[in-house]
């Protein structure tokens, strides 16, 4: 690497000598103008569709005015935030959102780690490959099909899981339309769909464990369980921490699509979350400023949690996102 760096420096110097005087922005731009042309379209798309909406966040502090455009309305300050915090939906929305995300993280986060450790223990190559191919597959099913699948399989009268529940003596439980079963069904089906895919990153980390570590552990008489605990688990801790930070950063944002699709009038008391509410208030009822304020409220809490988790992880383990 050192060799490569010194070589590029020499080339730069050669360029500087051949062009008299200023090695400046203008000169590097001249050298790199083709690179700028290649990246400009991507910059433009991200600027327009990601950064302009960020500028549009001020809508949450303004009265939306159709004729004045995105940012032309009258400034009303925190009016809509106060309205949201004082509204009768506030407590329910916060409770549901936090409950669903916490359940997803607590149960959903360890699952792929365990699966990766399990897959890594299978020594028979063909069996390992078959298992991997199978568990990755549900990740590619669309959310609509996934919820449709739940609807037909879990239907109390005609679904196969419904029959199973009936045989076990729970025939009066409707898994699809009850406030008690909504979160378990949501979390478990989420694990079913994504556990395989999410395990890939841990498998990749496991495959980079130094083989010498295994050898010396065996030499010391460690059994398989001890190897998992003392060699493999420490090797994937950095990956675990990074993913945990990222997950915590979205602790109050739930997957919109799945919850929206799973909602029905019977489970709504537990399934209405901030994101589905923003959709209903904003897109359906056209209360743009109010919905923007609720959305911003959500984004800010997420962003703060992300920074906080990153800070804690940096202090405790020296691992951080940046």
């Amino acid at each position: 690497m050192a060799f490569l760096n010194s070589e590029t420096k020499t080339l730069d110097r050669a360029a500087a000598i051949s062009t008299p005087k200023k090695q400046t922005i203008l000169n590097t731009f001249k050298r790199d103008y083709q690179l700028w042309i290649m990246i400009l379209p991507a910059i433009a798309v991200v600027f327009v569709f990601n950064y302009i909406p960020m500028y549009g966040i001020q809508l949450a502090f303004r009265e939306y005015d159709f004729s004045a455009g995105l940012t032309g309305g009258e400034w009303v300050g925190l009016k809509y935030f106060e309205q949201f915090v004082q509204s009768h939906m506030f407590v329910e929305l916060m409770r549901n959102t936090i409950l669903i995300s916490l359940a997803t993280i607590l149960i959903g986060f360890p699952a792929p780690i365990i699966l990766a450790l399990l897959i890594n223990q299978i020594k028979w190559k063909r069996a390992k490959k078959t298992l991997q191919t199978t568990v990755y597959l549900p990740h590619f099913i669309s959310m609509v099909v996934m919820v449709g699948l739940l609807n037909v399989l879990l239907s109390p009268n005609t679904g196969i899981v419904g029959h199973l529940m009936g045989a076990l003596g729970f025939s009066d439980v409707n898994l699809l339309a009850s406030t008690k079963t909504f979160i378990p069904v949501y979390v478990l089906s989420d694990i079913w769909q994504h556990v395989g895919w999410n395990s890939i990153i841990y498998l990749a980390a496991l495959s980079s464990v130094d083989p010498q570590l295994y050898d010396s552990a065996k030499m010391d008489g460690a059994n398989r369980w001890q190897i998992i605990r003392n060699v493999e688990l420490p090797a994937i801790i950095p990956t675990i921490i990074i993913l945990l930070i990222l997950n915590m950063g979205s602790i109050i944002s739930t997957g919109f699509e799945k919850i929206f699709l799973m909602q029905n009038t019977l489970n709504l008391p537990i399934s209405e979350v901030i994101e589905t509410y923003v959709y209903k208030i904003g897109i359906i009822s056209n209360q743009f400023s109010y919905a923007a304020a609720i959305g911003l409220f959500n984004t800010l809490i997420n962003f703060t949690l992300l920074l906080l988790m990153n800070y804690i992880a940096k202090r405790v383990s020296n691992i951080s996102l940046w």
Binding site: T8, L11, D12, Q34, L35, M38, I39, P41, A42, I43, V45, V46, V48, F49, Y51, P53, M54, G56, L59, L70, L118, I119, Q121, I122, K123, W124, T133, Y136, L137, P138, I141, S142, V144, V145, G148, L149, V152, S155, N157, T158, I160, H163, W192, G196, I201, A204, A205, N223, G249, F256, E257, F260, L261, E275, V278, G282, I283, F288, A291, F303
Partner: protein, 300 residues
């Protein structure tokens, strides 16, 4: 079984192996069985399925569900739309992501660090649904096909994967050698970088393609016109809102029980028909998954 019979192992080792095998088998069945069940249920007699008699093999072979699906114009309009959106969308995604990733992989490019931050920041912070919706509305993209293709056509995660791939697999000396021969960045990118990057192009191409194919959100928010509906919106009507028959039957009522059975068989078929394209490309791309994730996780 082969694992168990290996010689020279202690009893506890064998017990451990047996435990691993049982758990692995259990995981396999829990994931594979529902998928298998959908397939057999879609070709079985709907009464037998709905009374729980179809468990391991198709019973009372019937293609009623598929016949209905082939006659349903909504599905085929959705199919056609989604194919158009997915192909054009993925083409634009690749046309934007690949050159940008190449630029970000050039260490001599001065603005590299700043631009990286410019892209990565959008992963952690965004304007939210309402400002984005109003922007798209101001751009007159609502109820047009462009809303599926142009907005968010650069995925930052894919951009990072591609950049890391270029950084690690295209040697630096290569460009310098080509530059001495008078090759420009354009020429080098087209003639050297792209042909050497088939693996990463297939991986992110697949990610983009699947994303377009499964995209439900864009259609839900921005499309009102039935003729522009992507497949996922049609699927929502059929699978979730239970509007199985185009005439509107199948949603319960007096003949509900009877209609519902047929409706369910159609649903099983619809799940298969709509997921088939992904299932077809899945085996070809599968071998790249681990590679793709590994490349991406080197440096976030």
């Amino acid at each position: 079984m082969r694992v168990l019979s290996r010689k020279g192992k202690s009893a506890s080792e064998m017990l451990f192996d047996a435990f691993i095998i049982i758990i692995a088998l259990l995981v396999f069945l829990v994931v594979a069985y529902p998928l298998y069940f959908i397939v057999i249920a879609s070709v079985s007699d709907s009464t037998l399925v709905s009374t729980g008699q179809v468990l391991f093999f198709p019973k009372g072979f019937s293609l009623f569900g598929y016949q209905e699906i082939f006659q349903d114009s909504r599905i085929w309009t959705g199919y056609k739309n989604t194919i158009i959106y997915s192909v054009l969308g993925t083409a634009l995604n690749l046309a934007l992501t690949l050159p940008a990733a190449y630029v970000l992989s050039r260490t001599e490019f001065r603005a590299r660090r700043f631009l990286m931050f410019f892209f990565v920041f959008t992963m952690f912070f965004n304007g939210g649904l309402i400002p984005t919706y109003l922007l798209i509305k101001d751009l007159n993209m609502i109820d047009t096909m462009w809303v599926f293709i142009i907005p968010f056509s650069v995925n930052v995660f894919n951009l990072i994967i591609t950049r890391t791939f270029f950084e690690t697999s295209i040697p630096k000396e290569m460009y310098e050698a080509a530059a001495i021969d008078g090759c420009s960045h354009f020429g080098f990118f087209m003639k050297v970088v792209l042909p050497l990057s088939k693996a990463v192009i297939s991986v992110i191409g697949l990610y983009y393609l699947v994303w377009h194919w499964n995209d439900f959100f864009t259609g839900l928010i921005y499309i009102r016109d039935n003729n522009l509906q992507p497949l996922q919106l049609v699927l929502r009507d059929i699978l979730i809102s239970n509007q199985v028959f185009s005439e509107g039957a199948g949603s319960g009522g007096a003949a509900g029980g009877y209609a519902q059975r047929y409706a369910d068989q159609i649903k099983y078929g619809v799940i298969i028909v709509s997921t088939l394209p992904i299932l077809i490309i899945y085996p070809f791309i599968q071998k790249y998954f681990e590679k793709g994730v590994m490349i991406g996780s080197v440096k976030g």
